[in-house]
Symmetry: C2
Subunit: 221 residues, 2 copies
């Protein structure tokens, strides 16, 4: 669907490139509106079913004006993912850096991520699922990998602090704690659906309770 | 790579179909040998890099004799996955049905699955990752979904038993316990590599400790 417009007028591509270099306030604001409209469309219809025309329709605009900001819906999708992942990373880095107990920080991180996955459904989940494997050669993917490393580091810092301070049991392997937490959170992409039995906040609380206190009523070795 | 052989001689396809209906002992035994050779090849080189010729070479045989048993490497892959998933399901159903405490059963299930993922690397992980999405229309996929449901049910039974018997904390949500356990185990497909720091058994123990006892040295609410 994206080819015809760009082919009919490579002018759009050139204008898009120029506007990107300038990045003035009204361009950025309008670009945000396009992203918000796309996010709503992805939430309502799923990624595959959404066309650039759908996004334009939500804006009360036409396809050409969407193409002025983004070359394809994949590009909008990646911009949404990057925005959400960046916000998550900044949030959990801020939590990790506070002087609060590791138990409190771990809970806050798990809960804020579970809420974020709900808020950014479905595109964070689609990204986790790597439905978008074809995008892996784009340069945005590299940014996303770097953000992923910071994400891991923030959780690792809390896990290490908790073991070091004695707040966590001495037997806890910080790497395995990190993998288990990320696994539980990221696996939501296979089962979480909006409007289900539990909200993002409730999922975050259930996981936090489990990772901090375990399922067993009494220690069991 | 698979087309030419089948095209040159649709006889192979007819002979394969006939042998499958008969399923005599020597055919089944030889088919197992093909599957084992393919499993070794996938482990050594990864799924993408393996050809039917590689599998034949490991058997000291030729491509045509591999095609006598399987129409494609995808078909061998799915047969390996189904064999491994079926063994896992039967194993964890047997554990779930014992009269042991829920804490013991949960630990045994987590540990046996972590060991199985190591033993069946990489094809169980590839299946979890759904690298094989194109296979979703095959009939084997339906079997696999049914096995997946039994897998979920076995873990759910242990979670429910543990809550009911009071071995698990009253606040534990059995669904969330199941999702967290499956998430941690299945997420290994993103980071586990053979010969890494921890073996499958050690990963299973670390996860069991975490899910039973939690990370916190003292209960933290």
């Amino acid at each position: 669907m994206s080819q015809p417009v760009d082919d009919q007028s490579s002018l759009i591509g050139r204008r898009r490139a120029l506007a990107r270099r300038e990045r003035n306030a009204s361009w950025l604001e309008r670009r945000d509106q396009v992203m918000n409209a796309a996010a709503e469309a992805f939430q309502a219809k799923g990624f595959q079913a959404v066309s650039m025309s759908d996004i334009a329709a939500r804006l009360g605009s036409d396809r050409a004006s969407v193409y002025y900001y983004f070359a394809s819906k994949q590009e909008i999708f990646l911009a949404l993912v990057e925005q959400a992942v960046r916000a998550n990373v900044e949030q959990i880095e801020a939590v990790a850096a506070t002087g609060e107990p590791a138990t409190v920080r771990l809970r806050r991180v798990i809960e804020s991520l579970a809420e974020s996955y709900e808020r950014h459904y479905p595109y964070l989940h689609l990204y986790i699922q790597e439905d978008m494997r074809q995008l892996s050669e784009s340069s945005d993917e590299k940014h996303l990998r770097e953000l992923g490393d910071r994400y891991d580091d923030a959780i690792m810092r809390i896990a290490l602090d908790g073991v070091e301070s004695g707040e966590f049991r001495p037997g806890v392997d910080p790497h395995m704690l990190r993998f288990a937490v990320l696994g539980a959170l990221n696996w939501t992409h296979r089962w979480y659906r909006p409007g289900g039995r539990l909200s993002g906040a409730e999922i975050g609380r259930a996981f936090s309770d489990l990772f901090l206190n375990g399922a067993a009523a009494q220690s069991s070795y």
